[in-house]
Symmetry: D3
C-alpha cells in the first residue's frame, strides 16, 4: 500500500470540517452510526487528526500466546502494522469493544508512528505511558489510561480488515476525522462530498452563531428559514 | 412562566453552599438520592450554577421523526424550551438515562441560552461543539462529548414535567445547585432551609479543617463533640 | 503497626519505576491482574504515590446505620483507619466495586491523612470536595466526583483485611505504586525485585525511545534483539 | 378514551405476524429501532400479546413522595392508569431505563388489568409476585424479578405521553406486538400494512423452511431468487 | 457458633412471609435497600429458603494464590466455611459484586452443605455443575452459570464478617428469606416483627386479590381504605 | 476444508468431559480465560455440543450495507459460512461483544446448519425465532432473544479468522465443548490431553460426591489427600 492519495481540496476540507457538522450531513444521508463518542485526545494540544483508515484488530488474549516474547515476532500483526501503515493514514484500532485493562500502545510505538508520518491514532481502549504521550506533538485519541501492555488482555489478530471501533464499523480506506467532539468515520466514496457540505454548514452556523450572540431568537434562524438563508447569502457576499 | 423569584437571602445562600454540605443536610432529612455524580463543568472556569429547574425530556429517536428538518418546527419541545425557559432558571435535561451517542446541545443553542439569561445547563448526556463551549463564560454540566446532533439518537418529548436526570428525580421548580463535586436537586419547599444549614456546616468545616491542618486528630473534632462545638463558637465570636 | 520499613534502595526504586514497566515485569512472572486502570490523580500536580498498602473496606449502606451521627463513633472503621494508618503507607479503599454515588473522602479527612504523613490515597470510587483536593500537595487517586458523604451509599466494614480495589486483590503490606497510567499492586515478597527489573526496563526503553526518535524501525529494537542489547550496553557504558 | 378500534382484519394480522418478520419489514422502511430485546413472558404459557399502546412513565423515586401511603391517592398516575387503560390495549411501562431493584407490578394490579380486559403488559423493568403471575392466563412481558414494590425506587410521573421502553420510542396508540422473540412497536399509521407484509413473509419463510429441511441450500432460496419465488407461488396455488 | 436459635413462631413466620410483603414492611421502617433482585433458584422446585445469615467473602484472585492446590488447605476460608456454617443457617456469599466468570460452588460443595443441614445458599455470582444442582432438593439462589471453579477469578478472604451481596449489606445473623421474587435480608433485631406484619399483609392481600378477581376496582381496595379494612375484618372473622 | 477429523477416542472424551472439569484442567496449565459464562442452550433438551470451531465474525452495521437485499449476495460471509462450515464442526460467532439488539440466526439458517450435519452453534449474542429453535433437536447456545435480523445492528465481516466470543479468544480448529455450565474452548494441540484428564477428574469427583452424600467431610476428601486417592483407586478396582 502506498502513501494515501487525497486531492489537495479534499485534504483542505478534511482539515477544517467539524465532526459536529459531518455527523449532521451523514444523518441527512441515512447514516446515523458513524461517530465514536466519549473519546478524547490524550494530548489536548493536538486536538485534530484526519486521513484514510488503516485498521488493526485485537481479540482477547490467551495466556500462552500473549507474552512479551511474542512481541519479538516480526509477523506479529501489531508490530507489523506499526511499520507498514502508510504515512498520512490514521491507525484505527479495534480493542474488542474497549478492553479497559491494558494500554493499546505506549510511548515507543507512538513515537515510531509519529516519526513514520502517520496522521494519528484512534483506539477504543486506553493508552499507556500517557505522561509521555501528553508531551508529544501527535494526535492520539483514546479512552482512558492503563499501565499494562496490550498483551495483558489482548492479542493482535490481523490488520486492514473491516473492524468495529467504539461501536462504529470502520473499513480500510474510510476517511477518519477526529476533533474534541469525537471521531467520525466517512465512507470513502462520499467522504469529500460530505466534508464539503459540512464545511459549508460550519460557515452558515458561524453566521447563525453571530446572530444569536446579537440577541436573535433561534426560531427561523436555526435551522434557518428562507429569510435567514437569504440574509446569510448577503452576509457572505459582503465578506 | 415568569422570571424565577428567589429572595436575595436565598440567592446568596445558593451561591455559596457546597454540594458536599447540601447532601449531608439532605441525608439528615432522609433524602439520600438528590445528587448527580460524575458530571462535570464543560468549561472548568465556570464551575458553579444554581437556580430553579426548568425540565426538558428526551426519549429514544424514531428515524422518521428525528431529522434535521424536524428541528424547524417551532413546536419542537427542544427548540421551544430554549426560547421559553425563564432567565435565572437552570435547564435540566433528561436524555433517557444518558444516551451517550449524541450531543444534547451545541454551541448555538448554548449561546442562545446564555444570551437569554439562563443560569446554566445540566444534562446527563454528552455535549457537542465542546471546543466552543469551553470558551464560553457559561456553566454547562454534562457527561462526556459526542459529535452528532441530539436527533441522532433522541427525540424531545416534552418540557416542564417531572424527569429523571442522572438517576435523580427532578421536578420543575426544584432548586438545582451545581459545583465541581456534582449537581444537587433540592425540593423547592425546603431548599432555603437546607441551604442555610449547609452554609453553616461549610463554615464549621472551615474551622475544623484549620484545626486538622494544625495537627489535631479528627476524633472529637470531626464530627465535632460538644467541646469542639464550643471552641468553634468562641472562634466565630472572635472573627 | 509501626511506620512502614522499606530499605532506602527499595524506596528509591519505588520512587522511579513506571507502572507501565512494573506491569510488564509482573506478567513475566505470571501475574496479569495487578493493575487498576482508569484511575487518575485528583490533583494532576501530584501524579505519583508509593508505599505499603493499608486497606479499608466498605460495604453497601443500611439506612439506620449509615448516618452522619455514626461518624462520631471512634470505633467507626473509617475514622479509626484515618488515625492509625502509619505514616508512609498508602491507604487503599475498597468501595464495593466503585459505588459511584458517594465520595470516599472529603477535604478534612484527606487533610488529616496528609498531616499524618500518609503516602497517598487510592480509591476505586469517587472523591468529594474535589476543588479543595485539587489545591492540596497530596496524591489522591480516584474515579470521578460525587458530592454526598460516604455514608450516602456505604458503610465502613473493617480495615487491614484483604480487599479488592478496582478489581485487583490487595493485601495489607502489598507495595502500591501509582502514576498517571494507573495503580499497580506488588506482592510484598517480590516487590523490590520487580521494581529493580522495572527500573532497568525503563532505562532500556529510554534508549530504545531515542533510537526510534532517530528513525530506527522497531523491528529488532523493541523488543530488543541481541544486537540492540549489545548496543544498549555500549551506550550505558559511555554515559 | 374508548376501547381500541382495530378492524377485524388488522386484529387477525396482529394475532399472527411474528416479531421476527415485523422487524424485517420495518427495516425495509428505514426503521431499525422498533424492537425491545431480552424481554420475556413471565408466564411462558402466555407467549403473545398485541394491541394499541397505553403508556405509563416512571421517574426515580424521592423518599418523601415514594411511600406506600402515596399509593392511596386516586390521582397517583400508576393507580389511575390501571383503572383507565382501555380494554384491548397493551399497557407499556417506562421504568426509567429498567430500574432493576423494584417490581413494576405485583399480582393484584396484574389481576385487575386482566379482569378489565387489557391485552397485556410490557415493562422494561422486573415484576414481583412472579410465582402468582406465572399461574395467570395473562401475557406479562418483563425483565427479571424483584420483590420490592415499585415505590422502592420509582415514582409514577404520568401516562399517555411518549415514552422510551427498553430503548424504544413508544407513542400512545402505537401498535405493540409481543412474542417470545421480544416486543415490536409499530407506528400506528403503517402498522396494518407492515403486519400484512410480515404475515406474507412468514408464509414464504414457512415454504423456505420446508425446502431447507428437505436439503436445499440457502443460496437462491433464502433470500429467494426469482426461481424460488415462482416455485413458492406454485406451491401456494397448490395448497 | 452453635445451631441457629429461632423460636418456633419466628420459624413459622419466616417460612410463610413473601419477600414482596417483607420489602413493603421494610420500606415502612425506612429501609429501602434490603432486597437482592434478579437472583433465582437454580432448581425451580426448591423456591424458598430462610435462616440466619452465615457470610463468606471473596476478593479478586491473584494467580499465585488462586490454584486448585490451595483448596487443600483446611484453613482456606471457603472450605472452612462449608464445614462450620451451622445447620439451619443460610450461607450468603459476596463474590465481589458478582464476578460472572467463575462458579461460586459446584455439586460436591453444595451436596456437603445439604448433608450438613444448611438451610440454603445465596450467591450474587453464578453456580457451576448446574445440571447436578437442578436435581438436588436443596435451595441454591444465584445469578447465572459458569463452568470454571471459584479460583478462576476469586479468592476466599474471610467468613462471618459484614458483606455486600447483590448490592445489599448483610451482617452475620441477619435473617435471610428467599423466594422466586428474590432475597430479602432482615436486621436480626426486627426480623420477627417485620415477618409478622408481612404475613398479616399477605393475608390482607389474599382478600384484596379475591375482591379484584371478582371485579372490584383497586381504588379504595388496594391500598385498602377504612371501609375495605372493615370488610376484611368481617371476612377474617367468618373464616 | 474437509470434515473434521477427530479420533474416535477424542470424540468419546469430548462427548463426556464436563466443562466444569475441563476448566479446572485448563487452569492447571495456566489458562484461566477459556470459558464463556452466562450462555445457555436455547432448547434445554439439547444441552451438549462439541467439535472443532469454525468461526464467523460480525462488526457493527452500516445502514447502506446492512440490508435484507445484501443477504442475497452469495459472497456474504454469513451466508457463505452457513454453506461451507464442515459437518461435525461447531459454528462459533463473534457478534462484536454480544450486540443484544439483533438475532444472530433464525430458524431457517439454524435448520440449514442442522441438515448439513454441523455439530452446534455458539453465539455471544441473542437468537431469533426462538420458539422454533426450542422445538429443534439441535444444540444452539446463545445469550437472550431478539426479534430483528442480524443486519439490524451487524454486518458479517469474515469467517475462519481468530475471534473473540463472549470475551474468549477462539481460533479456527480449537475444540469447543458446550454444556449447561457454559462453553469451553480448548487449544487444538492440547485438547485431547485436557479432555482425558477432565474425564478422569469427573470420575474421581463422582466418587467424592458419593462420599460426601454419605456424610464425609470435604476436608481431605475434596481435594483428595493421599488416603482418599488410595481409597478411590480401591473403589475403582472394585467396580
Amino acid at each position: 500500500m502506498k502513501t494515501a492519495v487525497m486531492t489537495d481540496e479534499a485534504r483542505e476540507l478534511y482539515s477544517r470540517a467539524t465532526t459536529a457538522s459531518l455527523t449532521a450531513q451523514l444523518i441527512k444521508r441515512g447514516l446515523r452510526t458513524r461517530a465514536i463518542s466519549n473519546i478524547a485526545p490524550v494530548n489536548p494540544n493536538t486536538p485534530r487528526a484526519f486521513g484514510p483508515a488503516y485498521t488493526l484488530r485485537y481479540i482477547p488474549m490467551r495466556e500462552d500466546l500473549a507474552t512479551g516474547a511474542a512481541m519479538s515476532d516480526p509477523n506479529n500483526p501489531q508490530r507489523k502494522a506499526i511499520e507498514v501503515v502508510p504515512a498520512g493514514h490514521v491507525l484505527v484500532v479495534d480493542t474488542y469493544g474497549g478492553m479497559d485493562v491494558s494500554g493499546t500502545f505506549g510511548d515507543i510505538l507512538v513515537a515510531r508512528l509519529r516519526v513514520r508520518g502517520v496522521a494519528g491514532i484512534i483506539s477504543d481502549g486506553p493508552m499507556r505511558d500517557i505522561a509521555e504521550l501528553r508531551k508529544m506533538d501527535f494526535p492520539v485519541f483514546a479512552r482512558g489510561n492503563a499501565a499494562p501492555p496490550s498483551y495483558a488482555s489482548m492479542l493482535a489478530a490481523d490488520a486492514q480488515v473491516p473492524i468495529g471501533c467504539g461501536g462504529v464499523a470502520v473499513f480500510p480506506g474510510d476517511i477518519v476525522i477526529a476533533d474534541p467532539d469525537g471521531v467520525v468515520v466517512l465512507p470513502a466514496a462520499i467522504a469529500e462530498e460530505i466534508a464539503r457540505d459540512a464545511v459549508e454548514q460550519d460557515q452558515l452556523e458561524a453566521y447563525v452563531r453571530q446572530r444569536v450572540e446579537n440577541g436573535d431568537s433561534i426560531i427561523g434562524v436555526y435551522p434557518p428559514n428562507e429569510e435567514t438563508k437569504a440574509a446569510y447569502q448577503a452576509w457572505l457576499a459582503k465578506r
